[in-house]
Subunit: 345 residues, 4 copies
């Protein structure tokens, strides 16, 4: 069956698998001390224009968020996030499980507004009872957001400025960063992120890797004993090579950006198909996740022929669903969707 | 350089990589709901003679231990382990980080003694202040232990009986289980483990997989919401296929057992080589980890030509080192070691 | 200076201090095993019409909430509360510090609505991704709320019914329960609470005790090893007599209810004074906390002569403040306030 | 019945109760911001010759240990303690519950040896796998120990020097500090503790208070947001006056030291009585806890007439029991014990 269910339904880009096979019998030290991890780090430093950037590779997004946030927060602190943020909603309480509150502020199509962030911080710091409250110790953004939307450079600049003013780190979750960096008209680049964020991660799992996320501490601010903290969170792979080789490969010959751009192109075509048949979109997404409004009739018919994700009920008769493209989506898939829509509607 | 540093210095058995490549473009559901995870589960159930066994795949050993232990313990409880156990010493406090104490009892070449376990439990339950103490809520064993040693069926039976008497689960960490199950003269089998343990895991990372451990709950006792707990611990891979495919492959055509037996054979040859040159062993290990006593002179000479692990200082002049073989060790490696020893000593 | 700052500005009701003095040299067992704790428990059981009620005494509200919630929740679960609830806002992240998320739903003058609770639970249980979310494992109410408001019996009944339907406990935080139970026109009684809640606590600190809260598990549902959990949370006083004697005293000769009713009477008079001078109230509170809207001019003038609590900024020119009466408020205090208002306005 | 069960079987020194009564109706700010807390802090600063000492009052020992340790440790760190330390054995896992391991080293009559501490630290820091281990982040001592024994100034000096060398704080649990400071021949004083420790607490609960411990940060090193951390641990009393008034009273006119010295004098007399009848002591304790070896016959006879604490079984026929005196022990109690022993033996 045709599937636009997510960007993690296939394995890995074939170049990655080939590299794994090619290097398979090399004897390498464990726990991320191998040459491929080193190579990947240097490539990321260069791409970020951040030669002192400190980089660590972890296996998945939730463990990365939990580890980084626990490592950076003081025990009196929580992390500010959009109420729709991944750490707020869909990480099974991993942040709280490490002892920290997620301080939710409104999400607007997945994004927080710097004005509301400022208000939150001002209100907190002027509250005489703040010793009875959770100190805001960090700001968490996802980019692209869980709704596929993107911050602009100016928005990030404003948020970053606020973080510096309040002396708290800015952390950006880039689980789908490739799709964000290669979106049309975006003015956000890796060097910009490295300059505005204190730490961010470059997602691999959803951008062509089997697994793996690359955390970048940009300000000489990797917390002390960070490898230990990664280990404590169960996030230190014995065969760290698995992550190093993948990221080394993704950042060779522009692969990461090419396959991300491909995912976005497929999303644009998918969008055009839906528009052609008169569908409405829940919001405007420039990346690989598209949110389409279906009425009950359409929902029932479509789900027999194509798989996608249920997102949320909008009204009694309408549902928001997500169609995701990826590095692995083929032109034929889009054409098949077009044919399908022309047939069943 | 020749390396006997660990059993995780190479990638994965080539059959696994081939299978990953072969299935790469199949569109599969995420988070362990794919057909390969299902196949692997059924094969494990059959091998364990445990058709109701509930199985989950996680990426690494520390995260498996932390997740299983947190999921099974009540908030008033800790886990009993040998003082040399992996959870006691080498998991960076992952168990305590989940809020639970590791209740250490003596390790004897890595093993606990049922008599000392009984004493510990009896003393605890007869202590009138036990409400001020940590309740023993589980017993943790590693098999093979961190010293390569093995429990016999009778020893496991005694420990299991004690656990049932005190109504606490028995958990066995099988990070290197393959080497244990295929050791010469062992009377411990998968069905025996399934019958004596409440939960155990079959290690993949150190037995030919890129990563991955298979947790088996044997008594219809998988904790409620276990997938959620795995997610909360950052241990739920989006591309669960990576684990399913590997274990499916490892449990096809006896691969897991063949490559483990190979590792043990190589260890036996390695042992013979060292014995030939008059070296002493710190203890008798029937599996792939061998602990050799080197004097300072030998240590200095050897480490220039072959890599291995420093284990512990024995006396001023003597050090225990670990040589590990694995599924990937080649006959030539053993021969090279023999030549080396004949040359440098 | 005249003070209506809180209900914990004085020490304890004198009968309590006398009883402490009278019993001072009795040699009593520690940790809550003394006869006064036993007496107090029996009196509470009788008042609740709950002869099997299991009761424990803790020193303060935050520790009580953290201990009870941690003891009752599974590691996959969080606690539903109003976004204005004490555990959501003013306990410094104590709940998250134990590893559990506070699942916030809207507060309406401090109260949650059963309709919104039902929607939350239905939405959660129909979400296919719920294994990636925090399971709702408990409902937390405060009564009186942080805004002095009260649930009616029918509202509590609806919430309790929902909790039973979803098989999660209902927990009621009664830090100021005395003022709630003796409010005019309330139809909520101790036996009703014992029947509808799975656990609740009767507040002492704010109702005439030096410190102390009495937790009542009403359904034979005290978690196993509860004393141990209390100890683990640092909430087990060595001299448990301090709590037992106070509650024994508070529940002798109706003292708890009399002094609470006095606090409410003083609040009513205070309200009349403010109304006489034309002030508006932020909301209608039938208990000892009154929320008054002051413009900036009034605020500046008043705070020179009387102390009260700043609550929240309403608009540029208006602020909500809290005046609290208590068991210790004297008629003269109200008269002094009246004089003050007549003078300075 | 005659009781030497513990030092918390009575209420509080009468001067404390009188002071509570005398100040009862004063309206004071909550949460430790009252004048009595302030007065008590100044008195403690003066006694410690530590005018910049930062002081906080908590209600009990376990909560104090858990709060201070969690506040000072980094998430990668654990606390070194004697295996017989209170935090190791008798706080129901409170330290682990905050996510930190207790790193146990041998206890010798309750004390750690600086030599063994040095070895532990050296071994850790020379271990190449230390990133997989728990970093030693603090040293915990109790003084008097759980066995009533005391460190000498020289021993404390050596331990303190090691802590500074390894840049980790030294924390001393003074639950029974009064008895330690007033023991015969001790050379440890409050100013010495303030100079050698980074933080310590002066116990109130077991030295004449109803409850309460005074934490002293001696090096301008109170962790940021400490009040918040205390609140998060449920250890911030609303009526902080309860603690302030008690410590103010204890440190007025030398009361704390006088009543402690009395407890020690009673212990000395108790010891003489036991010696007179030929009993052996398990160890030599200069403070208010005495550990006596009883054979089974003596144990059975004695426990019918006097209450004491069972400590540990020594051999089949012998048991160690604890007799504790306190500020509240009366000369007549010792005489009654003498008569009893003369009668029943």
């Amino acid at each position: 069956m045709l599937s636009f269910e997510s960007d993690y339904t296939e394995g890995a880009h074939e170049k990655i698998l080939e590299k794994l096979l090619e290097t398979n019998r090399e004897q390498l030290p464990g726990y991320g001390k191998d040459i491929y991890c080193q190579n990947a780090k240097e490539k990321i430093q260069a791409l970020c224009h951040c030669e002192n950037g400190e980089i660590a590779f972890l296996a998945g997004g939730t463990q990365t968020n939990a580890t980084v946030i626990a490592a950076l927060l003081h025990c009196s602190e929580g992390v500010i996030a959009a109420s729709t943020g991944h750490i707020s909603l869909h990480e099974a309480g991993a942040i709280e499980s490490s002892g920290h509150k997620v301080l939710e502020i409104p999400g607007h199509c997945g994004k927080i507004k710097s004005k509301e962030l400022r208000d939150f911080l001002q209100t907190f710091w002027s509250d005489q009872n703040r010793d009875h409250m959770v100190y805001p110790g960090m700001v968490y953004l996802s980019h692209p957001t869980e709704y596929g939307t993107l911050y602009g450079a100016k928005e990030l600049q404003e948020i970053s400025t606020l973080c510096r003013q309040y002396k708290i780190p800015l952390y950006l979750d880039g689980a789908r960063l490739g799709y964000g960096l290669t979106a049309e008209n975006t003015d956000v680049t890796l060097p910009l992120l490295a300059s505005l964020c204190d730490v961010f991660y470059i997602g691999g799992t959803k951008v062509g890797a089997l697994c793996g996320e690359a955390v970048v501490f940009t300000k000489n601010n990797m917390p002390k004993h960070f490898t230990n903290i990664v280990k404590q969170h169960g996030a230190l792979l014995a065969k760290g090579r698995l992550l190093g080789i993948q990221f080394d490969c993704l950042f060779t010959d522009n692969l990461y950006f090419e396959i991300s751009a491909h995912g976005n192109r497929m999303a644009k075509k998918l969008k055009e198909v839906f528009l052609k048949y008169g569908f409405s979109f829940y919001l405007e997404s420039p990346t690989n996740q598209q949110f389409i409004i279906l009425n009950n009739h359409q929902l029932e018919k479509l789900k027999k022929h194509v798989s996608f994700s249920f997102w949320e009920r909008l009204k009694e008769q309408e549902t928001v669903v997500r169609f995701a493209t990826s590095w692995a989506t083929k032109e034929e898939d889009i054409q098949a969707l077009d044919s399908l829509l022309s047939t069943i509607l």
